[in-house]
Symmetry: C2
């Protein structure tokens, strides 16, 4: 039986058949009868042709489920508080006025977690609002209260991209997130229970409106600059579009003005990975074992989109983790172990429901005029009908109890629909367009987008893209830049957009370049901010 | 309560809180206590701020699980046969001789399901072996026994790409598959139980060796051509490399000579989606509810890789399935409903374990000389030690009981290691290469690959790629073509490779172009075959 001897020295289990039929308790239970009830145990003389393959990567998941289950019961006995997601100490702004959301939901009150670096000058004119990517916290840089390095540690500081000798930098956790700002894991004040999937659908603009409540609270009437990458680059543009008079300069890196189908698809399958996990329980998993298995897979999928093929070809190629072993169905190639590691690190540190809501907000992002007009009409209808606590009747209720220098100035809801340029430039719905006009034409942004960005035509805007980015491909940043140029041209003003595209020679790191490239990304930001 | 009235007209459930805590039996059970045990039911006066979001897409999955569960119990009562995956009537070749696999496993005996079109000529010199993609069956074209259109219906027939007036076309289901050939859902003759994950790890070369057993059976000593797309294009090249004297011409479309990290990553997360499904049960789900939820997600992920961004931009853009409804976390954008539909169609028609094994074989594919030499050494060691039933001692046992014209001629295992060219050209292991040499250089294929393809330097080879393909990007086909040219140049012979790359103007359909483009793909194949 040499072949069995050989095989048992491999990553195979010689006892795997009885193992598969064993009564061992699995966190992954199912209603189906165990195999032992349906198949005869193999007789002494009926060995299989090959041993069963082992799955140590699934053992890890099952062990984690069991450990978490024990912790759940321990907490339950002690009636102690739930552990919450955190990356350390932050400041918290609590807004007591409701936030009405773009798609009909509301937050009766909410928290914004934020951190700051540098000093605000006396006239509060040196404030930079830094927006985060999907899963980042407000901890962009270390602080006295939290000395851990932040996610943009090398980009913030004296003489750096965001120069704290000149600027007062604020970074917030987005609403919908889980690092201190109100999100699905927060308690709904209406009934004292966690929101879970009773949290309302969010948009990028909703996140920005919440941030501007914080600015009101801090007495900041106008930002020196709105800066962000990835989802933060969406917010950065959205801040300018929503509050054109309150934003000076705009930096949007590796972002877009409207999500495209491939990125929607990649985020959709991440959400499916979570909702497929039985522990997700339609979002009501707080106080129970969280859907860490689905969350891990979601992060593995996301990680594919964050780094590009070229970098992986160089970094991993076809190398296997242990070439002396036979191939395994658990992580085997280096690229698989890399994804596995990324998923492991993330699966218990970020709230799965936050991933669902925040990634959906990214999918919904569209600064086109038609979408803005529809949203404005929806908000106007809702606001006119809602009897809210604020005395203001036609605008979003504001949170001005904290003495800002100027009253809250949200962009009037009616601007876009009544703007004749917007009417003129708004295209018919895509389904009415002939086939060839629906094709992506990076050099010819749709008129709808030119109209939607018209409010930024006089703002200095820095748009950056990376050729190796597959999630926010470089044509999307070219589209933003060209739309801004055309908006300026249509109004007869000088375009003030600056566009940089990092070639594959400059960066192979794809979407994640903004986290890594201090020289090219940081340098351009520093020069642009002046 | 206008806001609730508005909300309840949306895709929201006003009863969703009690629903989430209801004792309704779910196929997705878990060991955690239901929420009702941990949270108080909301009191009469404590309505949540927003209604819970509904998940009709999960209702569908749960209903299917329940229906399948009933069928399982019904079958169990009747002790009837299991339903098997099928796409209709095929011919079956049963090989009684063992197949020794590249990574140490063995199939004691095996079936190959196949179909044929056209007439074999008297000297059996007009045979084309058509290889399939990952999940396709042998049903490439309708037959009298199965009039359903095949997956290459418009490419096979009189005057078409594979001209049945001239050629006898054979298509097989691969081993590892589930459409009639031996795979994980087959019975292991050693113990009468289904293989499940006791099925051995496969390679593309293993699949090809099994196909050549069929050719032996049919008395075909040499193919006129080996033709395939996607995984079939890998097999098509592998057939030439393994059996250079038995293959005349080679057509390899939208394939590669070695898988790259992005494609490995995308297949890896598909496998994870399956193994994360509790119903997968480490592969032992036969006779039970299959992991249809994970399988559906796997297919949704795969579908992202099969079509390109440009096509989706044109076909779906940012359109939503029902713009009159508020955003949903179930499929919402058209691209999401498209993926959902693709997953639904597939999730019960293909064996999840087959997807795992066959996709892994694609990941392992590497025609480089070093990998070929390692494999040959492993096979030689195993064959010399194994006491097999065949009288032949130093070559793979053959299945020549069925009177082929010529004896089985597998490429000698020792060719590559003892080939001085191969030794000379074989590079050091990638980990020993300096960084810049590990970078992909499409115009400069690695010497290892040039050496690995040296056996095809005198074969006419047609290599085709599609610029919009993200799974097998066009640089991979350029790499194959250039490696073949260099192999010819190194030997001082005229290169016989023909390379076509379809531009985005010619096809936006990405990887799936080979299934759709009769004119460009079919036309080139027809002209090449002559």
């Amino acid at each position: 039986m040499r072949s069995r001897g050989l095989a048992s020295s491999l990553r195979h289990a010689s006892t795997a058949v009885s193992r598969a039929a064993s009564p061992r308790t699995r966190p992954f239970s199912s209603n189906a009868p165990p195999p032992a009830l349906r198949e005869q145990a193999p007789g002494r003389n009926s060995a299989p042709s090959n041993p069963a393959i082992e799955f140590p990567c699934l053992d890890v998941l099952e062990t984690r489920s069991a450990t978490l289950q024990k912790q759940v019961f321990a907490r339950s006995d002690e009636s102690g508080p739930e552990p919450s997601y955190t990356v350390g100490a932050t400041q918290i702004y609590h807004c007591r006025e409701p936030l009405i959301l773009d798609h009909g939901g509301r937050l009766q009150e909410f928290d914004i977690a934020y951190e700051t670096w540098g000093q605000m000058n006396p006239d509060r004119s040196n404030v930079i609002l830094l927006h985060t990517g999907l899963s980042a916290s407000s901890h962009a840089h270390s602080t006295p209260d939290n000395p851990q390095p932040g996610w943009w540690e090398k980009f913030i500081g004296p003489g750096l991209a965001l120069d704290t000798d000149k600027y007062f930098v604020i970074c917030t956790n987005v609403i919908g997130g889980c690092y201190g700002s109100t999100g699905p894991s927060s308690i709904d004040p209406s009934d004292g229970k966690r929101y879970a999937t009773r949290f309302p659908i969010l948009t990028i603009q909703d996140m920005v409106r919440a941030q501007f409540r914080l600015l009101d609270h801090l007495g900041v009437s106008k930002l020196y600059a709105s800066v962000g990458s990835s989802m933060g680059g969406m917010q950065s543009l959205a801040a300018g579009v929503e509050f054109p008079s309150r934003v000076g300069r705009i930096v949007s890196i590796s972002a877009c003005a409207r999500s495209h189908p491939y990125s929607i698809a990649m985020r959709y399958v991440q959400r499916r990975a979570i909702v497929n996990d039985p522990n997700w329980n339609r979002g009501f998993y707080y106080g129970r074992v969280p859907p860490h298995v689905g969350m891990k897979l979601a992060r593995e999928i996301a990680t594919i989109t964050y780094r590009s093929g070229p970098e992986w070809e160089q970094r991993f190629g076809r190398r296997r983790a242990d070439p002396s072993q036979p191939p395994a169905l658990c992580p085997d190639f280096l690229v698989e172990t890399y994804l596995d590691h990324a998923g492991e690190k993330f699966c218990l540190t970020y709230d799965p429901n936050s991933l669902i809501y925040v990634s959906k907000a990214m999918d919904l992002f569209d600064l086109g005029a038609a979408n803005q007009a529809r949203t404005a009409a929806r908000r106007a209808a809702r606001l006119s009908g809602a009897a809210l606590s604020s005395s203001s009747s036609s605008s979003d209720p504001i949170c001005n109890l904290t003495l800002p220098d100027k009253p809250y100035e949200e962009q009037p809801e009616s601007t876009l629909p009544s703007d004749p340029d917007a009417e003129l430039l708004a295209p018919p719905p895509p389904s009415q367009l002939p086939q060839q006009q629906r094709q992506p034409q990076p050099q010819q942004p749709p008129a709808d987008l030119v109209a939607g960005l018209a409010g930024l035509r006089e703002h200095p805007v820095l748009v950056m893209g990376v050729a190796s980015d597959i999630l926010f491909p470089a044509w999307q940043q070219r589209e933003v830049a060209e739309a801004l140029r055309r908006a300026a041209a249509a109004a007869g003003v000088e375009p003030r957009v600056e566009h940089h595209e990092l070639s594959e020679e400059q960066s192979l790191f794809g979407h994640d370049t903004f986290l890594l490239d201090v020289e090219n990304v940081g340098g351009a930001v520093r020069r642009f901010l002046g």
